[in-house]
Assembly symmetry: C2
Homo-oligomer: 333 residues x 2
């Protein structure tokens, strides 16, 4: 059964709490720690974008398209739809001889306040490039062009999605239990939480002078830590944690309370799923674990804000705190 | 212990779920049903605004200030900060000879998209009238002026807040266990969920020709159902449910997964607290219970959307459903 990972207090009361599952995998050892049920089957949502990007790199399509680290970071991103993201996605589509209309992710109001305000001032609507997954989709289009696939690159039997499933099952170490349709309409394959942590540990252990898969994993990891702002955006937990970790960890959020971490120095992968889908609890859990492992300074602003608060109200008054389970905060192998 | 009330599916998987507590109180009978622990102590947050408005009416301050049903509805509201709300709050402050600066709720970006866009186009910032609680606070100011209280009407020992606590403890039927500071900086008193349901049942049973308290309760209930748009706003669950219930129930949301209902035809009060604080689950739970009781048509759009979905993604594709526990959907006394 899942267990309580994060509690929110207000005025001395435990007001709300979040249950969930955690799996920590070390590359040569296997599962080294778990909370709740590490074998729980989950949909990883956007937390697995670096897995979905593997065929793009491994096939050589990325190299043939001349992709640099910025594009690879965007392929792994759930971005804010800020100009730094949408400008690069549009330029990338342009190099493919494609336009926004080739995307199949759907339009999304950008999370970035400046981008939102710019759309309102221009009296226009967000388009598919603003979708937080537009980098992943442009990666899919890049691979599809290379494979000679048709325009409907999200179909489950499209060469792009077949390649993604193959890579997904190989790195999670087991056949997927099925799939759901993600917020961006891409198939999102199920795995156990332990399987997702195993995959992240493979990324953590990958060497740039290793076999093709390891080389691809290392390129994607390096791209993520080189461009924390492209992977999410200003104010977002992924960007703030990766900046504060100074290259020692890559992290990635997923909808409905999923979060993963890749920690090369320990050849370790972490996967978190909050049962109720709460982002705040997934962020607190991953930050607390990284703090305990020494990858994120415990006295850093981001660690403190994500793991303890204080929670402030609209007038700026302190109204409560967040409390991450001690067994998470203090865990070390 | 809390129990699972709502589950979200995606692609055949149970992706996320929400646990919580429910208490249903009937005025002459007492607690008639419970899920989880009806005696769990909670902070009711904005769900108790009609209780916080009782002293305003009972004292005669509302009548002396010439408040109509629109102002009483706003006193019970967590509104969207749309023009229909802020215009009325500003006009009300004006009748008191006061301005926005007398409020102590803090500024808040309005939830209403048109109001947000208007602020951006005017290149200005939201003020305290946009705060979803500005009606409650203007009610506090109205009472404070009547009582001769000082400007800091949110202080726990201010005459306004002392009157609120007295009313709160009387209608919940027990001394409060303490308080937290709410998002709008007002003291928010703790109660058991059963106590909150008891209070709502008192509102449900109140008669307009009864004693002062009953008369005040009935006036506030009538104001809420007369102005569902002022209590929340377009697209919001409170507004939609009250419109669909056609005067047969008043409902009110509170932060962190609280929801209450007042059902006069059954002299019944319902109180819901989702453990993890999720609004979507509180809305689904209250809508399902109202559906089972026949107060909300089960084939109405709002009942279907809040209790079953479908959940759609950014391209409009159906990706999953919501499922409320059958014991809630099918409950009847």
């Amino acid at each position: 059964m899942d267990e309580t990972l994060v509690t929110l207090t207000r005025g001395g009361f435990d007001e709300s709490s979040h249950r969930g599952h955690v799996a920590i995998w070390q590359n040569d050892t296997g599962l080294v720690a778990g909370w709740g049920e590490p074998e729980a089957v989950i949909l990883p949502r956007s937390s697995c974008k670096m897995i979905q990007a593997l065929p793009l790199v491994e096939s050589g399509a990325a190299a043939r398209a001349g992709l640099a680290t910025e594009q690879l970071a965007l392929a792994c991103a759930s971005h804010n739809g800020a100009a730094i993201h949408t400008d690069r996605v549009r330029a990338w589509l342009d190099t493919l001889g494609m336009q926004e209309s080739h995307l199949r992710c759907g339009p999304q109001t950008p999370a970035d306040p400046d981008a939102r305000a710019a759309l309102i001032r221009a009296d226009t609507h967000p388009d598919q490039c603003h979708n937080n997954c537009s980098g992943k989709h442009t990666g899919f289009l890049t691979l599809s062009r290379d494979l000679g696939g048709d325009a409907e690159y999200l179909a489950i039997d499209h060469p792009v999605q077949r390649a993604v499933l193959t890579a997904f099952e190989e790195v999670t170490g087991a056949p997927s239990q099925g799939f759901g349709v993600d917020g961006c309409s891409a198939p999102n394959h199920a795995t156990t939480l332990a399987g997702l942590a195993r995959a992240m540990a493979s990324f953590a252990a990958a060497k740039s002078d290793g076999p093709v898969r390891q080389n691809a994993m290392r390129m994607l990891y390096d791209a993520m830590i080189a461009h924390p702002d492209l992977v999410a955006g200003e104010g977002r937990a992924c960007t703030r944690i990766m900046r504060a970790a100074s290259g020692r960890a890559a992290v990635k959020t997923g909808a409905e309370g999923v979060f993963v971490a890749i920690i090369p120095e320990r050849q370790m992968g972490i996967a978190v799923k909050i049962t109720d889908g709460a982002t705040r609890a997934a962020e607190g859990t991953i930050a607390a674990l990284l703090g305990g492992l020494g990858v994120l300074e415990r006295d850093s602003v981001v660690h403190q804000e994500l793991t303890t608060g204080p929670i402030r109200n609209r007038a700026g008054l302190e109204t409560g705190h967040m409390r991450v389970a001690a067994s998470l905060r203090d865990w070390a192998p």
